[in-house]
């Protein structure tokens, strides 16, 4: 047993550190560091730089542009990417639909979609949740009827993140209304330009346009856009959601925020001295750091255990990572808000939820705190994660 990185792993880490800081534009990394929303161009620019160096989709099969990395190398990659405030590759493409198509799609689908998904020539969004199907996702009602060799889709999807930029949407749709609810679901790929699709923005409490409602009115979808088998979509969705959760702890991001919080506290005056001189604040930061260190090692244990598991099968311990990871992300945004204090109040005139940056980025801190409340809700709420632990681990 040895928790240290090998010299090769350290060299790998150092090379990534250099690469991320020298190749990804500083202005984009600054926005990420300050927790600002990124434009479509920012995300595309960053992902294409990664893609040009073969680093956009390391988690994919090697045949489709993935890396033959050890779980430790994958962990280091994600960690260093976040620590350097590089935008994550677009989740919907890289961690969701890409792996599903690679694992369950037809050869034709792989050829058609995977290269463009990696390079972000196709921007995907996720059509899972519905107004009546949140935590109880399997109760979804959007239906697809087979007519003349096509699927005709009608219904409504909710919380469609960045759907305003999307070219395609991957959807869970009901193809058998008689079957038990998980059994009658299929996984469909739908072109967002199809007639009958309407996207309506939903502003979130931080004032940003991040999520949308997507309406489907008799939308025709070619039958070849079905992934895998009809009525097996729930299995693919579970595969996708468990993949999502292993990357969800965001330890590097929390470290980056703690580092920023320390700098802000040093630069902030309170009662005539530096706020960082306040031992209560420092103990609070230390307590968050301790929990984060523990989570980092828990994450490494999950990573190491993946070597013993089927590579395509995520570890159910991902629920622990989701709960603790989201709690710590929220704790770091609370910390930033409390350090910014009264200076967090002004919300400069903004357009589409994007504030103008000032020197310290204080204007973006309250929105970041507001927005971060979502992390214990999405990806299977933390209460759902506790249900999973109770049932899958504890047998209750």
């Amino acid at each position: 047993m040895d928790l240290r990185f090998t010299p090769e792993e350290i060299a790998f880490r150092d090379e990534l550190r250099r690469f991320f800081r020298s190749e990804i534009p500083a202005e984009i990394r600054r926005k990420v560091a300050e927790g600002r929303h990124l434009s479509k161009e920012d995300i595309v620019t960053s992902q294409r730089i990664l893609h040009a160096h073969g680093l956009a989709t390391p988690n994919w099969p090697v045949a489709w542009g993935g890396k033959d990395w050890s779980p430790v190398q994958r962990y280091i990659f994600t960690e260093e990417l976040q620590r350097a405030a590089v935008p994550l590759p677009l989740q919907f493409n890289v961690f969701m639909v890409g792996p599903v198509i690679a694992a369950f799609g037809s050869e034709e689908q792989k050829r058609r979609f995977l290269p463009a998904t990696a390079s972000l020539d196709i921007w995907w969004c996720q059509g899972f949740s519905e107004p009546g199907a949140g935590s109880d996702l399997a109760s979804l009602k959007t239906r697809a009827e087979k007519r003349d060799g096509k699927y005709v889709v009608s219904g409504q999807k909710a919380w469609t993140t960045l759907g305003q930029h999307a070219d395609w949407i991957f959807c869970l749709v009901r193809t058998d209304r008689e079957a038990k609810k998980q059994r009658g679901i299929s996984f469909l790929l739908i072109d967002m330009k199809s007639p009958g699709i309407t996207v309506r923005p939903v502003l979130t409490i931080d004032g940003s346009h991040e999520v949308n409602e997507v309406f489907f009115d008799e939308v025709e979808v070619p039958a070849e856009n079905l992934v895998g088998e009809e009525n097996k979509g729930w299995d693919y969705a579970k595969f996708l959601l468990a993949n999502e959760r292993t990357g969800i702890a965001r330890i590097g991001m929390s470290k980056q925020r703690i580092a920023r919080a320390k700098r802000l506290a040093r630069d902030t005056e309170a009662n005539g001295r530096s706020l960082w001189a306040d031992p209560d604040l420092r103990r609070r930061v230390a307590a968050i750091e301790v929990e984060l260190k523990a989570l980092e090692i828990t994450q490494m244990r999950v990573v190491a255990a993946q070597r013993q598991r089927d590579a395509d099968k995520p570890d159910p311990a991902s629920s622990i990572l989701k709960i603790k990871g989201s709690e710590l992300q929220q704790a770091t945004t609370e910390l930033l808000l409390d350090i910014a204090g009264p200076y967090a109040q002004p919300a400069p005139e903004h357009e589409e939820g994007r504030n103008e940056p000032d020197g310290d980025g204080l204007d973006a801190i309250a929105p970041l705190y507001f927005n971060a409340r979502k992390v214990s809700i999405y990806g299977g709420s933390n209460e759902i994660q506790r249900n999973i632990i109770a049932k899958a681990f504890l047998g209750l």
Binding site: M1, D2, L3, R4, F5, T6, E9, V72, K255, I258, A259, R260, K262, R263, R266, P279, R282, R283, V285, A286, A287, E289, V290, E291, L292, K293, A294, L295, E296, I297, T298, M300, R301, A304, A305, A317, I320, I323, K324, E383, Q385, R386, N387, I389, A390, K391, F393, L394, G395, L396
Partner: protein, 384 residues
Amino acid sequence: MDFDLTDEQRLLKDSVDRLIADAYGDFEKRKRHQSGPGGYSHELWSNFAELGLLALPFPEEEGGIGGGPVETMLVMEAIGRGLVVEPYLDTVVLGGGFLRCGGTAAMRAELMPQIADGTLTLALAQLEPHSRYCLNDVVTTARREGDAFVLNGRKVAVLHGDSAGRLVVSTRTAGARADRHGITLFLLDAAAPGVTRRGMPTQDGLRAADIQLEEVRVPAADILGEVDHGLALLEQVVDIALAALCAEAVGVMEDLQRSTVDYLKTRQQFGVPIGSFQALQHRAADMLVAVEQARSMALYAAMMAEEPDPALRRPALSAAKVQINQSARKVGQEAVQLQGGIAMTFEYKAGHAFKRLAMIEKTFGDTDHHLNAVSEADSLVEAE
């Protein structure tokens, strides 16, 4: 990075787990062990010796097993699961640690075999009535007289100090009360003239002693480490013991987690197992999260325990103890709450596990103490 055990480590774990399961699997047996002389079973202690556990940390060339922090962790986890009362931490981890890290060749040659065969136990007499968690707050004095030192002072809550054959004693040989310089460690015979011991049970079923030292003469040859420079050695060995305590706590928590889940599955109320209630399921899930976070930090503690640079080692062990303490408090309290009235009774194991966790929290630094240490070191996440 590698979390796998070697074949030898797996064998060690299997044999220790079997030994503890046999000796402690039935909780009634713990009471019998406690009624032995010194509050533990000498027969079981011989079994520990036969398995080589008492020679675990000693180098192979000195007749030991050459085990490191991972081996100690495996033993301590089993000790935690069984709520073992034998003086392993005091004799092997602490006492053995002082010999290994600061003992003279003569001491090692004489005492390591006696520890290994189970005839000698040790205890660390460090805590004083006013020192709390500060290892360098020492008023027990040692004054030089020829080639000996004469010790005076009082040590309290010396775990297993009533039965130990030798005592590691921290004393002040120079400087003021809390100076870091001027501390000297002695390995003294517990039966030496001038040593008065008053034994007592601890809250968690172990034994301790209040020890009075009055004009106790100790030859200079019994000094551990160097005169006036004993603190670094004391901190080094206490850090090794902290890692071991973290592992023990994980063992206790693991057992509490298991018994709680078993109880939720079998206890029927309102015509159903109470584990079918979501309010209880979520609390059990949170217990598991707390145990796993603690396990991660016990691994971290084991990895850092032998780090020679105290500037790296000490904050790491403090961070581990903070997490262990916080998880221990949560898991202990929740186990009692979820198992309900039965866990309040003296004959049931869970309440004793809860008590052991509460006392581990107070051993070598509580949460506030170690949180201060982590925040002062400020080394877990580098600032921008």
